[in-house]
């Protein structure tokens, strides 16, 4: 019998969407940004600046000061002075008011922040507008509420602030990570020195402007820009009482060594290689959507991305067909276009890293599949990518790629799924898809991961703690748990 042609859907349609770019008229980006220390923008001691570019166009957006050791020292001193002079003297209610004010003004200026986030980091405006900025404001609102209720967070105990917090944040969610770090620190009564990532410093500097505009007492939050050296100077500074770091596992290990033998408190939010497990009884179309959100959200630059897909064998072909169809409808391109689903890869370096993994995966024998969409000529882009027939022994399954690349494996039994999902040095998040409640609970409870999503993925809320097992980190952020690293309990 002649083999019948498999019916396929055609997503190259006659009717498609016209460009719908978000306007940038309302946004001001200075030509140069200094360091935000003691409530003022001050030039860096050596006078060095580095460029921050738009990864979608490779054009320069601004120049940003490079903080030297002496600058970091100044910032820590400013934070200490602010702590001693104002912040620790303020009533908790007043402290809360300031944080509420940050949240409100951030909401008011949401559009500006969203556009700059997309310009500087390459993420689609849909995400910066609907997720990053509102969620950042939500974190400030949430922790503002805790400021004068710490005795209820830790019943029967007294919560004292730790002092000065040194915070180093990554480039994937620049403003949101700043909010995750600053909000609980301030709520618990600490002052802050924050170092944004070198490829995405602009929204943190905009936040500095905002903090200045709302009259936050000088030095309560200081923002020092720079690369690895600046971060190291901050982490190693003896005047820091608490370190909060989000970034790679490699750097996390260096920090852990650096703080060994000191009495610095620390939390580390590191890499991940989350398993997303789809059982045969799952609502398959919604699972496909969850897989897409899991791995293609923010170009896959997400520490908790669902980068390892496990599909029960009986539905593998059907699910992959649907996933491929869905991938065909993902629009890759101008981050400022409201219809863009996948924006630009954050930096040239990161694109190089992703492309290296595409070669590695192919060489390892996994089957590469990419959607057919066109990508712009200028800028850094990666089409949504699947590696089919991957296996636990492949590097693309073991290592964090941090890009829109999904490694797909199958399983037959529940136990096999659990075992494979946990067979990784990471443990930040996991996803479980099944229509059977009992199965969902059974499997979720056996995931060695800090966050387990059931029948959804990449959902965040300020009241929900977040953090890792194993090499994915130490400590929790968010929720009541997120206050703990910023207090000393007596």
């Amino acid at each position: 019998m002649a083999k019948k042609k498999k019916p396929t859907l055609n997503f190259a349609t006659d009717w498609s969407y016209a460009p719908a770019p978000e306007s940038t008229d309302h946004v001001t980006i200075e030509n140069r940004y200094d360091l935000f220390i003691g409530g003022k923008f001050v030039p860096p001691s050596k006078g060095n600046y580095f460029n921050t570019i738009n990864p979608a166009t490779e054009k320069r957006l601004s120049s940003v000061a490079e903080a030297e050791k002496t600058d970091v020292n100044r910032a820590v001193k400013a934070a200490r002075t602010a702590y001693d002079k104002y912040w620790s003297k303020l009533t908790a209610t007043e402290r809360g008011k300031y944080i509420f004010r940050i949240a409100r003004v951030l909401q008011e200026r949401a559009r500006e922040f969203a556009v700059i986030e997309s310009l500087d980091g390459g993420k689609p405006i849909r995400e910066s507008r609907d997720i990053d900025v509102p969620l950042a404001a939500a974190h400030f609102f949430y922790y503002a509420g805790w400021a004068d209720k710490l005795e209820y967070a830790f019943p029967g105990r007294t919560a004292e602030p730790v002092g000065v917090a040194g915070q180093v944040i990554p480039w994937n969610f620049p403003l949101l990570m700043a909010a995750w770090k600053i909000a609980p620190a301030l709520a618990a009564g600490n002052t802050v020195v924050l170092k944004p990532a070198e490829t995405t410093p602009l929204t943190a500097l905009k936040l500095a402007e905002l903090l200045r505009d709302i009259d936050l007492p000088p030095g309560v939050v200081n923002i020092v820009t720079g690369a690895g050296n600046t971060g190291a100077a901050l982490v190693n500074h003896p005047g820091i009482d608490k370190i909060a770091f989000t970034g790679s596992t490699a750097v996390g290990k260096i920090i852990q060594k650096a703080v060994a033998g000191t009495d610095k408190k620390y939390t580390l939010e590191l890499g991940g290689k989350a398993a997303n497990i789809v059982f045969e009884d799952a609502a398959i179309d919604q699972a496909v959507e969850g897989i897409v959100n899991g791995i293609f959200f923010n170009q896959g630059h997400v520490c908790c991305a669902g980068s390892r897909l496990f599909v029960q064998e009986s539905i593998h072909d059907e699910l992959i067909d649907r996933l491929k169809d869905r991938m065909e409808t993902l629009i890759v391109g101008d981050p400022l276009d409201k219809n863009t689903d996948i924006g630009a890869i954050n930096s040239k370096m990161q694109l190089k890293r992703i492309n290296a993994y595409l070669k590695i995966g192919t060489a390892e024998g996994a089957e590469l599949y990419q959607s057919a969409c066109a990508v712009p000529e200028k800028g850094y882009w990666c089409r949504p990518t699947l590696f089919l027939n991957a296996s636990q022994s492949h590097r693309i399954v073991q290592e964090e790629i941090f890009g829109p690349v999904l490694a797909v494996q199958t399983f037959r039994t529940v136990d096999e799924a659990i075992s494979k999902a946990n067979n990784t040095p990471f443990g930040l998040s996991a996803g479980v898809w099944s229509d059977k409640g009992a199965k969902v609970f059974k499997v979720s409870n056996q995931m060695r991961a800090g966050v387990v999503w059931a029948n959804t993925f990449n959902k965040f809320d300020p009241s929900s703690p977040f953090g890792g097992y194993k090499e994915s980190g130490v400590g929790r952020e968010g929720g009541v748990h997120g206050l703990l690293p910023y207090v000393r309990l007596t």
């Binding site: 019916p7 349609t13 009717w15 969407y17 016209a18 179309d285 919604q286």
Partner: protein, 310 residues
């Protein structure tokens, strides 16, 4: 010949229908929300508006409908807004069986199809032989398309073989006329039921699946339409046969209709972007689309009084 008293058995054709996948309501709602965030502008908007016009089943289904009212509707169908030349015409007009002849005459030579509701519309609470007789009558009066209703009571009792059989029987009674199967999703309670009913309707021979009568709230929603489009996709993937979709009731603005088109495009793709396979059952939608087209062409919104009622 299909016997209607036949109990479910292994030999029943329903046994060949694949098990319907489960549907997660929250996931469907999230997906729909994302369709709604698509920003459709300029040429894309104009293209969408014209496509929507061409997909409309202009509808009047009132107890007080008269031949004169239907003739007005037909005139509207043929002269949507003559001030704007080059507009497509609507796909069909949709009326009760007693008014099919009137519509047929009024539309002669226009190429616009006549659709008739039948089978005890809207409740379906009528003996099957009468429902079949009504179908045959509508077709003999000149209906090109028949919009049937399923017996929701029987479906909700789990009598899926009955549902299958009644659809197959109406299909047979339709002869050459196209059959649209109204599931009345507003009475089916769950998206799982919507999916199951869609699968049954497709395998039983429905040419189109349709959400609603417009007499029950909620009528069409994007959520149920998405689930039905997914049923069409899976049916196509399994059988190679392409069937159509008609959301009906509650879609009265161009903006919402554009969101439906976005959903259609991203769920089924190019092959379905045609009035042959996708229709809007609507009475008020056309004028809002015309208003938007006039706005696109002239740059200003005009008063509703400049657009004729039907």
């Amino acid at each position: 010949m299909i016997s209607f008293s036949m109990p479910a058995s292994r030999t029943h054709p329903l046994a060949e229908v694949p098990t319907s996948p489960s549907v997660d309501q929250t996931g469907v709602e999230e997906r729909v929300a994302r369709f709604k965030t698509r920003s459709i502008k300029e040429n894309a908007k104009m293209g969408a508006l014209e496509l929507i016009l061409s997909m409309i089943d202009l509808t009047t289904l009132e107890g007080m409908d008269t031949p004169a009212k239907v003739r007005q509707l037909c005139a509207k169908a043929m002269h949507l807004h003559d001030e704007l030349p080059g507009l497509p015409q609507v796909a069909a007009i949709c009326v009760y069986p007693t008014l099919v002849g009137t519509a047929r005459n009024a539309l002669t030579g226009s190429g616009i199809k006549v659709a008739s509701v039948a089978t005890g519309f809207p409740s379906g609470q009528m003996p099957l032989k009468l429902r079949l007789a009504e179908t045959r009558s509508a077709v003999s009066e000149g209906a090109d398309e028949v919009d049937m209703v399923i017996s929701r009571g029987r479906f909700l009792r789990g009598e899926y073989t009955y549902t299958y059989d009644e659809i197959a029987a109406v299909k047979q009674a339709c002869g050459d006329a196209h059959l649209k199967v109204i599931l009345e999703t507003g009475e089916l309670q769950t998206l799982d039921n919507v999916r199951r009913a869609s699968d049954i309707a497709l395998y039983a021979g429905g040419d189109f699946i349709k959400t609603s009568t417009g007499k029950v709230q909620p009528s069409a929603t994007m959520e149920v339409t998405l689930v039905m489009l997914q049923a069409l996709r899976d049916f196509y993937r399994r059988t190679g046969q392409i069937r159509g979709m008609k959301p009906a009731g509650g879609i009265s603005t161009a903006k919402l209709a554009i969101s439906y088109l976005v959903m259609l495009r991203e769920t089924l793709g190019q092959d379905w972007l045609t009035p042959r396979l996708f229709r809007f059952g609507a009475s008020r939608l056309a004028n809002d689309v015309l208003l938007q087209i006039a706005k696109q062409r002239t740059g200003v919104y005009q008063s509703a009084d400049y657009f004729s009622e039907a």
